[in-house]
Amino acid sequence: MKESFNVKNLKNRIDRIEDILASVAAGDMEARIGSDIEDDFSGIEAAIDLLINDLTDELRERAKVQKELESRLSKIQEQQKTILQQQEDLLELSSPVSKVWDNILILPVIGTLDSQRTQVMMENLLQKIVDTGCTISILDITGVPTVDTQVANHLLKTVTAARLLGAECIISGISPAIAQTIVHLGIDLSAIRTKATLQDAMIYSMKQNKRSEEVKALANISFPNENEG
């Protein structure tokens, strides 16, 4: 049975709607009007309750999505960090300088060379030369597919810098493609000692070693008339 409108009652009900809306706006998602009177106005109240329900669901959904996105973002950030770390490690690992024999260092280069990598390589090699006191170093570029002007220049610089330190730097394993590029680019490698393979470079370095030992032994032979006075 529908009750007729009562103005005083209506005023109270509107006040209640306002209160409920205010508390919903303040964040209390449990608040409902829940009127038990049935009349023309109760339709509006029910509709408002329904809207509040929808809004609650919507907000819950949104919070869930946001949480998921946040977790994904942190995962991505972590991955990014790992990638950066690995890049750095790779750069370090990509230029291992090892001492293979008395007085001989080898730097095998594998993969494409860029300016940054050659720079790191150069620094590592020079530091290792100073640390170990080796006077011969072999730069093996068998594993390098191509070389451009800049990289060739960097290689030249590395060899020159090694010479300035007092060490000899040999480049080995220049592939036919690289030889062609270098000549086409007009880069002059004649000042640099190049060997066909790493083996040739090793043989050359060992011969150099032996020769310097022989010269040293020779130096111990005294030349009496020259050494006195």
């Binding site: 100073v130 610089k157 130096a219």
Partner: protein
């Protein structure tokens, strides 16, 4: 005389002169050192000069040119100059500056530099024998 005018010692050992450069040189001082070394070569009749720059963190283009210039001047006076103990960073800087110092002998340390000079002088002796 100012703070830069700290004297760099030139030490004579047997046939060699040893010049340990341990302070960052001022251009004027570099030129002074150059003529001092050449005079010492003439006075002591040294056969070789070892210039130790192992403590220098920085070598500018002027000093670089001075060093290579001195090597050629000494060569005319029949004396070999070996530059000893250059730091990697210095070598990189010089190469970047395009100062590749052709014709200058270099050695990793004093010992190797001395050996290098001995080798050179001995080959010379062997040639004359």
């Amino acid at each position: 005389m100012n703070q830069y005018e700290k004297r760099i010692p030139i030490i004579k050992i047997h046939d060699y002169l040893i010049v340990p450069i341990q302070v960052d040189m001022h251009d004027k001082q570099a030129i002074q050192l150059q003529s001092q070394i050449l005079e010492e070569i003439a006075r002591t009749r040294a056969k070789g000069v070892l210039i130790d720059i192992s403590v220098l963190e920085m070598v500018d283009s002027f000093i670089g040119r001075m060093l290579s210039g001195m090597a050629s001047m000494a060569a005319i006076m029949d004396t070999s100059v070996v530059i000893v103990g250059m730091q990697p960073a210095v070598a990189i800087t010089l190469v970047e500056l395009g100062l590749e110092m052709p014709g200058v002998d270099t050695a990793l340390n004093m010992e190797k530099g001395m050996e290098m000079l001995e080798r050179k002088l001995n080959t010379r002796k062997i040639d004359t024998y």
